[in-house]
Symmetry: C2
């Protein structure tokens, strides 16, 4: 589903460390919680997320306003504090972008 | 490596069909060729690409100008024509976004 442009997107590129089963379970809980917090914000539009077998991941969330992103960031920082991030991620980058144009192709 | 803002990004979200070995080989060649064509454009900055075991993929390329994206799009359309896309993708979406801000965290 295409969103009405212009809108904002948060691009999160990352690679997880090699986590043991308990760490992975903890990570999955925190990760699900971040998505849940996003869906509660008025300006949340959607999310796409992929992780491959080398533990590289890209998560893209879509937002109608920067203000919604700010609120989400503030809420998630209590849940997924910086020191916890150090535990899970080998590296990550966050980019905030304005989507000006999009086009879609789908057979489904 | 963070890029100097503002810059552009092309966000390609997709899911491949279930391809047989020959189709997959053909797809990989075309896919590599698209990346190769990108690296030849002056405004190309970089690329991130992840595909999971459900065949869902996200590829994000980074560009210093819209003009470079237009040239790449024009060149790739000869290589990876619309009818070939229908062969490989269950669905895909392309978004062109302006990256206004980014921040980075890395242990490596």
């Amino acid at each position: 589903m295409p969103f009405k442009t212009p809108y904002y997107t948060v691009i999160f590129t990352n690679r997880l460390k090699e986590l043991d089963a308990d760490q992975k379970k903890h990570y999955d809980i925190l990760s699900d919680r971040m998505v849940e917090l996003a869906t509660k914000e008025d300006g949340y539009l959607g999310i796409d997320s992929v992780r491959d077998d080398t533990r590289a991941g890209i998560t893209i969330s879509y937002w109608s306003s920067l203000e919604s992103i700010r609120k989400w960031k503030s809420n998630t920082e209590h849940t997924f504090a910086r020191n916890k991030r150090d535990t899970f991620y080998q590296h990550y980058q966050v980019k905030i972008a304005l989507v000006e144009r999009e086009y879609e192709f789908s057979l489904s």
